[in-house]
Amino acid sequence: MRRLGGGVEDEEKWLAEGIAGIQHNAFFMHRALDANNLREVLKYSALMLSELRTSKLSPQRYYDLYMRAFDQLRQLEIFFKDESRHGLPVVDLYELVQHAGNILPRMYLLCTVGSVYIKSKQAPSKDVLKDLVEMCRGVQHPIRGLFLRSYLAQVSRDKLPEIGSDYEGDANTVMDAVEFVLQNFTEMNKLWVRIQHQGPGTVRERQEKERNELRDLVGKNLHVLGQIEGVDLDMYKETVLPRILEQVVNGKDELAQYYLMECIIQVFPDEYHLQTLETLLAACTQLMPTVDTKIVLTQLMDRLSNYAASSPDVLHEFLQVEAFAKLNNAIGKVIDTQLEMPIVGAMTLFVSLLTFALRVHPDRLDYVDQVLGACVVKLSSVPKLEDARAMKQVVALLSAPLEKYNDIVTALTLSNYPRVMDHLDDGTNKVMAMLIIQSIMKNNSCISTADKVEVLFELIKGLIKDLDGNATEELDEEDFQEEQNSVARLINMLDNEEPEEMIKIIYVVRKHIMTGGTRRLPFTIPPLVFSALRLVRQLESQSGDITGEDVQATPRRIFQILNQTIEVLSSVPRPELALRLYLQCAEAASDCDLEPVAYEFFTQAFILYEEEIADSKAQVTAIHLIVGTLQRINVFGVENRDTLTHKATGYSARLLKKPDQCRAVYACSHLFWVDDDDLDGIKDGERALLCLRRALRIANAAQQMANATRGSSGPVTLFVEILNKYIYFYEKGNPHITPSDIQSLIELINTEMQSDNNNGNTRRTHSDPFFTSTLRYIRFQKQKGGLIGDKYDLIKL
């Protein structure tokens, strides 16, 4: 270990010296080769190989040196092969090279001659191989030993007595080949593991690095084993695997165990793994506690999963060996025994196991549930999941069934699914909930029973309500809206043809979203309401079919619920929204011929209007909504209707701004004149006219106020609008609207406009084109002739 103090520069120097030494001796060796002088050849080749005896180089540089010697040894091998050049039978040569005093050159030469010896077939290859692998024991220095043995592996690779090779037969069986490789592997592994025990602990890190650089030398043996022709399952099961695992386990070395397990999994065929699953898994549980068993297991499961996916024919094999049960068992054991394994590790394992279960046993939901159950147990044992990576794994775990089955419905039958979700933190829980919703959206899956809805909402409760009272947490408003919009969309996805079930669904949804708090309700209630209304319409369309006392799904009951639901909104407070919903309900109720219900909704809406809606703009909007709805509803009796219209007009007149008043009031005129084909429809022309007149008055007042302050052209617009209403009702045949009324209004507008201009206000206002168009419309109607034309002819422009 003299290289402790040596820096990189020194190493470069030593390497250069080593290379120079090799080249120097190789030169003389070549001269001797040319002269066919065996004695000299042996002398200089031994000298050349002596350069490999250095202890000063790191593995990487040693490899450099080794490769140079390796090239030279190829030349030597060619010479050895040709007996006519050196004149010695190969068996004598085999002895002769063993006279070399130093072990390392001796062994390199012996391996080289050995390979020639096997090729000559003068001795059974198994004997030669056995001898070589045994004699190599003399080199116990880890790095030198590893390289020597890797040289042996290399020169012997094409000379193993495997099935189909020239060297197989008689006494040489594939077993001998396996035995040889296994032994070489065993020894290399021991050497490799030993590096860590060299030198003081301070250089540990560098040693780890060096060992990593060397690991492929060891792993190569496993590759060879994997490639040997004729290693059948029995042999693998009885000999190869147990021997390898014995090494792995007994090596008690973290790096080696991890790497070798990885190698085993990668190198040997899938079906072998499957058949030896028990052994392999048993080994996994015996690894050092620091070994990252989860990656090993994960790889194994991934491989098996892919194998299962590769062809349906192999699936029965999985069943035969009870692959799932075994894996599940092993993972349980690993998690139990490796207490210090971070939670993320356990989660990764579960994800792999789940993937495996999904791929191999897509029909066995109980397996999936079992995995999730185990996951719950594990999660319960830790206080609270805070590791972000672990969280990610859990999300992956939960997403896997969704992706596999493309159907949340399946996931909903997994009893442990929500319990796993409980262990997520709020943020992740939401992410997961979003994933679930997205999955539903994507697949357009319909959740059609109340039970499932119940479970589903339990799953996504992170979105439905604040968890654990940490509502103070700052949320990104945009994200929040996004989430709630998703929930809203989800609510719309819930559907069942059967009203009875649908009403149950609605009950469930309602129960859940009511817990959502003031911020969520405005998002969640509307879809619920509309969902309910849809049901109402459905009931209505098949009305008569349903009878019976205890029928839940009657429109009346639904409206009752809706009433209560919307009421919550008003206290949120989102009165405008509540008002809109009330009106929607009222209209729906009207369609169902439920007058008292509709009336009740209107009452609610009016109360809201009076008590909660204070903003003038909101009031304007509300009034127009109310008027619009009221106008369309035809269920009310005269008395109720009067009350409501009276109220509405009253509200209109009391709006804050004159123009708003004016517009509201002329809108109210429609309440008295509903233009439909219904004969007994409301056609109260007088009161409509009254409304218009009132609007006109208000417009006048507004005009005067505007004159006082100057500059506002609004009132003219109002006049034009009112004119349009006049024309509308006139055209519809309201007897109380006379052509003279229209004419005087036109004149009024003209005057107003002129006075406006006289006042020096030459600016063109937007009411001009509006007015002009209105006039043009009248002229146009005149020219039409017929009934309408006659009517319009009465209006003089």
Binding site: E95, H99, M135, R137, V139, Q140, H141, R194
Partner: protein
Amino acid sequence: MNYLLGAFKPACNVSITFTDGKNRKQVPIKKDNGQTVMNPLFQSQETIAGKVIIEPYQGKKVEHNGVKVELLGQIEMYFDRGNFYDFTSLVRELDVPGDIYERKTYPFEFPTVEMPYDTYNGVNVRLRYVLKVTVTRGYSGSIVEYQEFMVRNYAPPPPINNSIKMEVGIEDCLHIEFEYNKSKYHLKDVILGKIYFLLVRIKMKNMDLEIRRRESTGAGANTHVETETLAKFELMDGTPVRGESIPVRLFLAPYDLTPTHRNINNKFSVKYYLNLVLVDEEDRRYFKQQEITLYRLKADTSSV
């Protein structure tokens, strides 16, 4: 010039040849001056026969008081230089005193010679076999010629050859158990075994297996012990963990080994040990030594 030199030259050229010299195996041996020469190889109970050729130089005659050939087995201690100890001495008289005028060939034969010990060339001691031809002369000094030859004796595989197994350790620091498959190895053998680590609390750099030769010469107070490490073979690189077992496979052939010699003629012993050495990162060495017996197996015909 030639004439002058010729005056100091011996009067004749003596050479010794073995009967089957052409076919007999030759093995190299290192001389004192570092050169390697090839010598014929024999073993105990063999008949050593050949010819001694005496060839006087042109126109000279060799007067002598007799010609003899001796077969000597000698032990030479380096710290007691020049003092040979002959443990075997056989003589053949080849000629009675007389004159030699021309090239003369004397066949000789030592039938089934007892040569119990191997030729050995150690750090402090040498054991050698030699044929010595002496042309005895009166005043002008005898003419002596040597011809060395090698002797190697073979042993059958030992009937009892237990493994070596032992647990050793330093309390609370390092406990190992090692096992070598045999306690007696022939020279081209392979040592197989394993080192099993029961407890490891030190950081190790490497572990070697050494073959050591312990040569002790003399006796009593004059005993000289010399230990050489003939092989250093790395068994392990780096620190093992408890429960690890490291294989041992050491081929003896490449090393220059001799059989174990125990108390050769009361003069010297050569023993071999396996020394297991662990070196920690502070370069401290922990070791355990075990004697092994080496022998030469008959079947062994390699050229070393």
